[in-house]
């Protein structure tokens, strides 16, 4: 107990020190977004300066933020819902009716996720062209659903696996059909797990920058495309890029912070325990 005060002080200093260190780049980005382009490249870097909103004004005058943000929300939510819709029955089948091939299938699915997307760009582009899906939100939702499916299936699988088979059997004796079994028994019991899977998928969709850049042009373009129109033009761009990045990152960051507890709670329940 003698060293307890020193230890506590050390822990607090370390905890805050590391937190500030990790957060510093984001803080600096936000700070830069309030500078003029000239001040953004001043050496030494300025910590105190007259803040200006001119970069934000410039960004908004060149691209309609709300339309990009709406697309981001639509495709992230859509992709997540789609992935869950396919993954829940799949994971259910694997968890409760495993066959000798289940384990192999699951790993193989995860391994397809390790294929760099650029390797299949042209085939997908040709498919999308044929189906008229280029630059549509539906097209992007399909891709995002597919993209996150392996991870979603695997996470759900681990949550479902935790559920004693006996409980389901008890339900089954009440005469529930397979769908009813999933809907009335399994999902309510594993809700925290399903929710945190959905949250993770939502974050991954929001931040995805390859398919969104290559499969959309204007009508369905999400915030990652918005960023690409402010990075590396001819001329100075640090402040404008920071402003664009700040508004693109802010929604998901706030959302992530708010849902962090839920994310963690779900993970406690299944995969991590």
């Amino acid at each position: 107990m003698r060293s307890s005060l020193t230890a506590q002080l050390l822990i607090a200093v370390l905890g805050w020190g590391i937190a500030l260190l990790m957060f510093f780049p984001i803080f600096w980005m936000v700070l830069t977004s309030f500078k003029t382009e000239g001040a953004a490249i001043a050496t030494p870097p300025q910590l105190i300066f007259a803040p200006t909103l001119e970069s934000y004004a410039e960004v908004q005058s060149r691209a309609d933020y709300l339309s990009f943000a709406f697309n981001s929300i639509a495709v992230s939510v859509g992709g997540t819902v789609l992935a869950l819709a396919f993954a829940i029955p799949g994971a259910y089948a694997m968890a409760f009716h495993p066959s000798t091939r289940t384990r192999g299938t699951l790993l193989w699915m995860l391994s397809t996720k390790m294929l760099p997307p650029v390797g299949v760009l042209v085939p997908i582009y040709l498919l999308f062209r044929g189906a008229g899906l280029l630059d549509t939100r539906i097209g992007l939702i399909l891709i995002y659903g597919l993209m996150n499916l392996p991870i979603v299936v695997w996470m759900l699988f681990t949550f479902f696996k935790e559920m004693p088979n006996d409980i389901l059997e008890a339900g089954r004796m009440d005469g529930a059909k397979a769908w009813g079994e999933v809907w009335y028994l399994l999902l309510p019991l594993t809700l925290p797990g399903v929710a945190s899977t959905g949250l993770l998928s939502l974050i991954l969709c929001w931040n995805e920058a390859f398919w969104s850049l290559n499969l959309t042009s204007s009508a369905a373009a999400p915030l990652t495309t918005f960023i690409a129109s402010f990075s590396s033009p001819e001329g100075l761009f640090f402040a404008k890029l920071s402003a664009a990045s700040t508004v693109a990152v802010a929604p998901i960051l706030v959302f992530g912070w708010l849902s962090q507890r839920q994310l963690v709670r779900g993970l406690t329940f299944g995969a991590v325990k």
Binding site: E37, T43, R62, V122, S229, P233, E234
Partner: protein, 443 residues
């Protein structure tokens, strides 16, 4: 695809009809998707395009503005798969003849007489012409020149000659470098890429008497000329260049020069307007201009780049698209920009009439250097030895993007000391030879 055919037919017949019926009368509203780069001049075009929509109430514009590399991937994929996402694309003079040959771009056939194609600077116009037809119209064009800091030259008692040589430049750079004050004698592109460091390196090699390929399409990268050029390049950057040279492209160098960190910089002429602009540059009143330095061989190809607007052959709204392209590259558009933002902000390098404009000459003291540099860029000229390809700071074959980028990486490795010049050129030679062999150029 089959589903699209009837639609394509009706659109084609509509287009036909609109050619027969007096213009505008039978044309339904058209929405054009314009893909462009996020450079300043294009952003101005996007902002001013509402004027065009006012003049053409039946045409609406949708904008896709992306950074250069992403745009190039996006547009190339789309046009090569004939997916038809864009009605107007922004393309470089590197792509235009190649794509025209593939039949991917629609020729500009019905330009009004007032458009005055004869007013376009000849080298720029020639680069966009394939089999006597224009396949894109130039939005702005650039060559390269030397920028230097007049105050630093004065302080060191130096004087920039009217036609500097690379030997002189090297001496200046050594004298002007003052690393303790973060002033570097020479800034050059070091970021790997066919349009980044290799654009500069190619024109440097040309003036040192080298070339990419001989008449039999054999790579010529392990020659004494390349060796001399790369040694020069890597020495000057290592000794007099800023730290982080391998991540510096045009932009990064612009920021460095504008922030007062470079005594000299050799790069695209388009930077002159930005360096001269007080809002963007801390050295706006201390910039001097000089032509690109020469080495052992003068008069060869130097540098010519233009950003152009073209219409994909897959566009279903070609007449409407052509009217926009003609508007955005016209004399009237240049005047419009001058009225709104001042003459110094007009898109440079495309029209003689811009350079004849007294107001422009008054506000842009660099104008004379720019137009001379473009007129002497000589992209179709010969290197010291005859060459089978065209292009000034690039090789005008489709494979060059890949080859140039790979060699660019190897050249960058000489800057960080990961590779010696000898080893780098040997590797670059074998990679380049392999690539043209695989593509079937060597007989």
């Amino acid at each position: 695809m089959a589903r699209n055919c009837p639609r394509a037919l009706t659109v084609a017949s509509l287009a036909l009809m609109s050619g027969l019926i007096p213009a505008g009368a039978a044309r339904a509203d058209a929405t054009l998707t314009v893909a462009t780069v996020n450079n300043g001049d294009m952003v101005v075009m996007q902002k001013l395009s509402s004027e065009f929509e006012k003049q053409h109430p039946d045409i609406h514009l949708r904008w896709v503005v992306l950074e250069e590399n992403v745009l190039r991937q996006r547009v190339t994929t789309d046009i090569a798969t004939k997916a038809g996402q864009f009605d107007i694309v922004t393309v470089g003079n590197y792509e235009v003849p190649i794509w025209a040959k593939q039949g991917w771009l629609a020729p500009m056939e019905d330009l009004p007489a007032s458009y005055d194609t004869a007013d376009l600077l000849k080298p720029v116009r020639d680069a966009l012409t394939y089999q006597d037809k224009l396949y894109a119209l130039p939005f702005y064009a650039e060559s390269a020149m030397t920028y230097y800091r007049t105050d630093l030259f004065d302080k060191a008692g130096l004087k920039m000659p009217d036609h500097p040589t690379y030997t002189q430049i090297r001496e200046f750079a050594d004298k002007l470098t003052d690393k303790t004050h973060q002033t570097y004698g020479m800034c050059l592109r070091g970021k790997p890429g066919w349009g980044e460091n290799m654009a500069y390196v190619t024109s440097l090699v040309d003036t040192f008497g080298g070339q990419w390929f001989d008449m039999g399409w054999h790579a010529k990268l392990d020659t004494p000329e390349w060796h001399k050029a790369i040694t020069y390049y890597s020495d000057i950057l290592k000794q007099d260049g800023p730290p982080g040279a391998t991540s510096n492209g045009f932009n990064e160098n612009l920021a460095l020069f504008a922030g007062g960190h470079c005594a000299m910089w050799i790069d695209a002429t388009v930077a002159s307007g930005m360096l001269y602009d007080k809002k963007q540059s801390q050295v706006s009143d201390k910039v001097g201009f000089a032509p690109m330095p020469v080495g052992d061989y003068a008069g060869g190809p130097t540098w010519l780049w233009s950003w152009n607007l073209g219409i994909p052959a897959s566009s279903k709204q070609k007449p409407a698209a052509e009217s926009f392209v003609a508007w955005a590259t016209s004399k009237d558009y240049i005047k419009l920009v001058a009225d709104k933002n001042g003459w110094v902000a007009v898109p440079p390098g495309t029209r003689q009439s811009t350079y004849d404009q007294p107001e422009y000459k008054k506000v842009a003291p660099f104008a004379g250097f720019v137009v001379n540099a473009i007129n002497s860029a000589n992209p179709t000229g010969s290197t010291k030895e005859p060459r089978p390809y065209l292009g000034a700071q690039f090789v005008a074959i489709p494979e060059f993007q890949g080859i140039g980028t790979q060699v660019g990486q190897t050249v960058a490795a000489t800057l960080t000391g990961q590779m010696a010049v000898d080893a780098a050129l040997k590797a670059a030679q074998s990679a380049t030879d392999r690539a043209v062999k695989q593509a079937g150029y060597q007989k």
